[in-house]
């Protein structure tokens, strides 16, 4: 049994959107939770944040990054099937009335969660603030994929200032804090910036929750691949997270483990795959 792709679309030159029919997952998913899919019989188990889970379909934002994400982008089209699709995994975030809730993001997985999180936060009576950072004008997503519609206050920033505010979400957060305009911050995207965000909010004691991406295998707490140090204790990102109190995560180790564990193998697989695409004339 496979899981049919129902939509696929470019978001920017580096990111794309894919929607998959998976009613068992869509029915149960809550913001904060993720999914794991496998493309084909020889594929890897790939964790992914969820942009939207409605009508039996699960939508995801994916970066064109390595072997798997490139293969899904180049070789799979609507109507094709993914081999496996499991979820939702991880713990949902706690939705309640915090007051003024901000979600800040600067990369695919964060942008995916920005909209979904703020949607439920707004329904719970919060004042919602969304900040989305992109590199430049070219990389900004089409408007209907942005979190604007679920935010009472919305900031689009680009690093080069080619559209929106010039700067990073960190700059916007600094201002929000100075003006005492935020009660709790949720965040996703690049781990390095999440670490910076944690340092930024720590002195003010602003509760900050971040999606901690780690290399996963099963995604259910069975393998320990995704372990992080949290408050000095070993936790599993897939089971105890993936959203954690950003002030208690040992970021240095989390960043290293996520990017370097299999970097040699990943590079090899990507090169081989690009060669294959070139030979077929796809790129």
């Amino acid at each position: 049994m496979g899981y049919k792709i129902t939509a696929k679309e470019d978001l920017s030159p580096i990111d794309y959107f894919v929607e998959v029919e998976a009613p068992h997952v869509a029915k149960a998913w809550k913001p904060g939770q993720f999914v794991v899919f496998i493309l084909h019989e020889r594929g890897e188990r790939i964790p992914m944040s969820v942009y939207k889970a409605e009508d039996g379909k699960v939508g995801m934002f994916i970066r064109k990054l390595g072997k798997t994400s490139l293969q899904l982008y180049h070789e799979y089209k609507p109507g094709d099937e993914l081999w496996s699709f499991v979820g939702p995994l991880g713990k949902p975030i706690k939705v309640k009335n915090y007051g003024r809730v901000a979600f800040v993001s600067d990369a695919v997985c964060g942008h995916a969660e920005n909209r979904a999180t703020l949607k439920v936060m707004r329904e719970a009576g919060n004042y919602t603030i969304s900040v989305q950072t992109f590199e430049d004008r070219e990389k900004v997503y089409p408007t209907r994929f942005l979190a604007r519609e679920v935010a009472d206050e919305y900031y689009l920033t680009t690093l080069d200032g080619s559209v929106g505010i010039k700067g990073h979400y960190l700059d916007v957060v600094r201002e929000l804090i100075e003006k005492d305009r935020v009660d709790v911050i949720f965040a996703g995207g690049s781990l390095r910036n999440l670490a910076k965000l944690a340092e930024l909010t720590r002195p003010y004691g602003i509760p900050t929750y971040a999606t901690v991406r780690q290399i996963m295998v099963d995604g259910t707490g069975m393998c320990g691949s995704c372990r992080v140090l949290y408050d000095g204790e070993v936790k599993f990102a897939c089971r105890d997270g993936p959203v954690f109190d950003a002030h208690k995560i040992d970021w240095e180790d989390a960043i290293r483990r996520n990017y370097e564990r299999f970097s040699e193998q990943e590079r090899l697989a990507k090169e081989r795959y690009l060669e294959y695409l070139r030979a077929k004339g796809v790129i």
Binding site: H24, V25, A28, Q33, I38, L39, R42, G43, E44, R45, K67, T68, W83, S84, F85, V86, G87, P88, L89, V217, D218, T220, G221, M222, C223, G224, S225, R227, V228, L229, V234, R239, D250, D253, R256, R257, E260, R261, F262, E264, Q265, E266, L268, A269, R272
Partner: protein, 471 residues
């Protein structure tokens, strides 16, 4: 009384030099002639006495099936085994027979015990290859009407699969919910191909399908569906979720690269076929010098898998050789294949290089005492002396505990170690929800998990009958 032959008929094995280069099965099993010869060593102790039957956790009528082999009636032998054990091709390969049936066998008191495990395996393999199983299955199929009621089974390991098969044969409609993309539990993600070829598991699964059992993979109960939802749709639920959470050492350096839990290492290799990377997409990264910590079956499997990736492998254990808990056959195979052993050492720190990769393990030396603990193992104590051993890859195999996804979600009563509390009928604190296998025992064995699955099936049948009668 037949003449007592002290020596076992050996089973053919692939030569060491050949087998360490691939993941193909090591032991090749008996041929028909060899099996009959080995069967003739059995003294045919009367069933009410036979110590082997008592030693078997599910009490297979061992002398009876061995007698059938002697007669050349493999169908008869299979029928007898199936009475108590529906997965003989698996248990014949992985049971710790030396502690069970073979450990009790009277021939073993004067010579080598009858090779019951390999005979069991022979019956299963022969029956599968010669269409005998097919004939027996057809008899069963008729009974599988699915009319008595609906049961949900959570987890497709040996406990869940056995429970599902038994219930199907009784006439229930069974749906198995499995978190992973493939059913089998430890049999698929943990135990390597060289001990248990996947085609054997595939065959068992196909059999279950024939009996009308439906397996829904990619379903995590407690996440994808809740237990409460299952209880609304099914007459009863069986939980066979195993003990899948790895224990890690709480010592400095645990986050260094190339330190794996045995579960991660084995899952990447067995379930995801990382040894065929990049033909398969899941990577594995190992260096040249591997230390495996622990000395159970999991440690042996990890060590021998690492060996097959071309590594130099040492097993480090905090106790001595006599307390190694793995099956004897695996320990012997590991030694033959070149795995080294380091005893009486307890890791206290993992030392890393500037890139965050492990480069050595610091151990404290341990010292055995005369005193024994409740499990009969010699107690040990730290000496205050340390030794540092170089290693560029470490695999931690010090044990597993139950995954708490379901108990947390559904509020099922658990023991402090996470195992589910059950009554004598294997019913949990939630009425209509039964459990068995590693989920209630902690790390145990395949045959005990199957025994629970079978016992629970009987209890579930009674429960549903009573429930329907009073409705």
């Amino acid at each position: 009384m037949p003449k007592l032959i002290k020596e076992r008929v050996p089973t053919p094995e692939r030569p060491v030099e050949e087998r360490v280069k691939d993941f193909g099965e090591v032991n090749l099993g008996y041929t028909f002639e060899l099996a009959v010869k080995e069967a003739e060593r059995c003294l045919q102790c009367p069933a009410n006495y036979a110590p082997c039957i008592k030693g078997c956790p599910v009490h297979i009528n061992i002398p009876a099936f061995i007698a059938k082999i002697k007669e050349g009636d493999i169908k008869g032998a299979l029928r007898i085994i199936w009475n108590d054990n529906t997965l003989p091709a698996i248990t014949g390969r992985v049971c710790p027979q030396e502690d069970q049936c073979e450990g009790a066998c009277v021939v073993g008191k004067v010579g080598q015990a009858v090779n019951i495990g390999k005979l069991e395996r022979f019956v299963a393999d022969y029956a599968r290859k010669h269409g005998i199983e097919e004939e027996l299955l057809c008899e069963f199929e008729e009974k599988c009407t699915g009319e008595l009621g609906k049961v949900a089974v959570v987890g497709a390991g040996p406990a869940g699969l056995t429970c599902a098969g038994e219930l199907a044969k009784m006439g229930y409609k069974v749906t198995v919910f499995e978190a992973l993309h493939k059913p089998g539990g430890v049999l698929i993600y943990g135990i390597p191909e060289f001990r248990l070829p996947k085609e054997i598991l595939d065959h068992e699964l196909a059999k279950l399908k024939r009996l009308g059992v439906e397996i829904k993979t990619d379903h995590v109960v407690g996440k994808t569906v809740t237990l409460e939802e299952l209880l609304q749709e099914y007459d009863a639920v069986f939980i066979g979720t195993g003990a899948g959470t790895p224990k890690l050492l709480n010592i400095p350096g645990i986050l260094l690269d190339r330190i794996y839990s045995a579960n991660e290492f084995l899952t990447r290799i067995n379930l995801m076929k990382a040894y065929e990377f990049p033909e398969y997409d899941t990577p594995i990264a190992v260096g040249k010098k591997v230390i495996v910590i622990g000395a159970g079956n999991t440690a042996m499997d990890a060590a021998r898998s690492a060996l097959r990736l071309g590594c130099d492998v040492t097993i480090a254990y905090r106790r001595g050789e006599e307390d190694v808990t793995a099956r004897i056959e695996e320990v012997e195979h590991a030694k033959e294949e070149g795995v080294k052993f380091l005893y009486f050492v307890q890791p206290v720190e993992f030392i890393g290089d500037e890139k965050g990769k492990v480069k050595a393990v610091k151990f404290e030396k341990m010292e055995p005492l005369e005193e024994r603990d409740s499990r009969g193992k010699r107690k040990i104590r730290p000496t205050g002396e340390y030794v540092t051993v170089e290693a560029d890859t470490v695999i931690i195999a010090i044990g597993l505990e139950p995954n708490r996804i379901i108990s947390e979600e559904a509020g099922i009563k658990t023991n402090p170690n996470g195992t589910l509390v059950v009554d004598e009928n294997l019913m949990t604190s939630v009425p209509g929800v039964f459990a068995g296998g590693d989920a209630i025992r902690g790390e145990a064995t395949v045959i005990l998990a199957m025994g629970d699955g079978k016992k629970a099936a009987k209890a579930i049948d009674e429960y549903i009958r009573a429930k329907k009668a009073s409705a």
